[in-house]
Subunit: 225 residues, 2 copies
């Protein structure tokens, strides 16, 4: 009887919480969060599913850890800058992190409890408002008014990234002229705007900054009143 041959010569570096998180990030980045299962993740790491549970309590904690990684990618507050530009820049940095990991906003929304890392981010944001001369009460209102936009969330209802085939889409727009005249009108004007647009004729970055500035300017007026 032949003895077992080591078909796998490399000793396979051991798992670790960090390695698990990295692989989970990669999986979610590549295929969306719905393609991230404990079993698939284990498979990716060439390990049996239950091995993950030695490094992560359960799937929920895994998701929390993944969010922490994303939040930690957000730049620290700029030093010495005026409050508004400092907050603005930080939120734009958060948005960049979120765009790098499109699954993150959905995951955050689906969770009920914030992780300590997220709390720390919120705490630092509160500090930025206070440092900008906002009273405690007004800072409180500001945090609520900004809401998830503080984390760079776009807060759009539907990300129109769904790629339907062109034919069906054309037919849809055709029938829309009668049933949804206003949306149709909007679509017409937007689609032949200037060329500095993303996707279906609409610059998401511009829209985000516009809404952000609307809020920040409004808050500033409240502060100075």
């Amino acid at each position: 009887m032949a003895r077992r041959i080591d078909v796998e010569t490399r000793p396979r570096e051991p798992l670790s919480r960090e390695r698990v998180l990295r692989a989970a990030l990669a999986l979610a980045d590549a295929g969306g969060v719905e393609s991230l299962s404990m079993r698939r993740l284990a498979h990716e790491l060439e390990v049996v599913p239950m091995a993950l549970y030695k490094h992560v309590a359960n799937k929920d904690e895994l998701l929390g850890g993944m969010i922490d990684v994303v939040v930690e990618e957000i730049d620290p507050p700029a030093v010495g800058a005026e409050w508004k530009t400092a907050i603005r820049e930080r939120i734009l940095s958060a948005r960049r992190a979120l765009l790098r990991h499109p699954w993150a906003s959905r995951v955050m929304e689906s969770r009920t409890e914030p992780t300590p890392t997220v709390l720390a981010y919120m705490d630092s944001m509160i500090g930025m408002f206070l440092a900008g001369g906002f009273s405690i009460d007004l800072t409180h209102h500001a945090m609520h008014a900004m809401g998830s936009r503080l984390m760079g969330f776009t807060q759009e209802l539907f990300n129109d990234t769904a790629d339907t085939d062109a034919e069906m889409e054309a037919q849809m727009w055709g029938s829309m002229a009668d049933t949804l005249p206003n949306i149709y009108q909007l679509y017409l004007t937007v689609s032949h705007d200037d060329a500095s647009v993303v996707g279906p004729g609409c610059d998401d970055q511009f829209e985000f900054e516009l809404a952000l500035d609307l809020l920040l300017d409004g808050l500033e007026k409240l502060r100075d009143r």
Copy 2:
């Protein structure tokens, strides 16, 4: 051999899409959306799981139908009112509908494609901005800036309705004084504010209206420029 006795005398009214939706709404209202499964829903209707599929294509379509029911609860636009109060009132009505069905916002966020009912609501919202004298372009920006708030979404990051036991909470706040000083400070001032508050010392309705007015006032300024 005794013939089978009808132990079930009432003929059990037949299923229908509407009956399925109503039962699904009830289930989600009662126990949250995570307690809504096709199997449980079928059980509630005293029917075998697969029977549902004669009235609903699949679970996703069921969720879409549930959202439609919620959206249809939103009041129609007030006639003859000024644009800002009309939009304001309608959004507040949407918020009331959402508070009646707390699962609805999460479900909407998790979907990629809007239902025709939701599209109709958006269309009518666009119409309200146009009727208020907004240009097409500015209306477009307004719709983006309002985002999911148009549907009454609160856009808070974490709904602090999680009821942890008091002891753990007290301990948490204790350690927080050092690690999260700003959140702690906010908590201190908010918790002994005036008594016109809801829940943990914070009037969600007030915060929602404040943020809403911030945006509407800002948009109005853009329009008049």
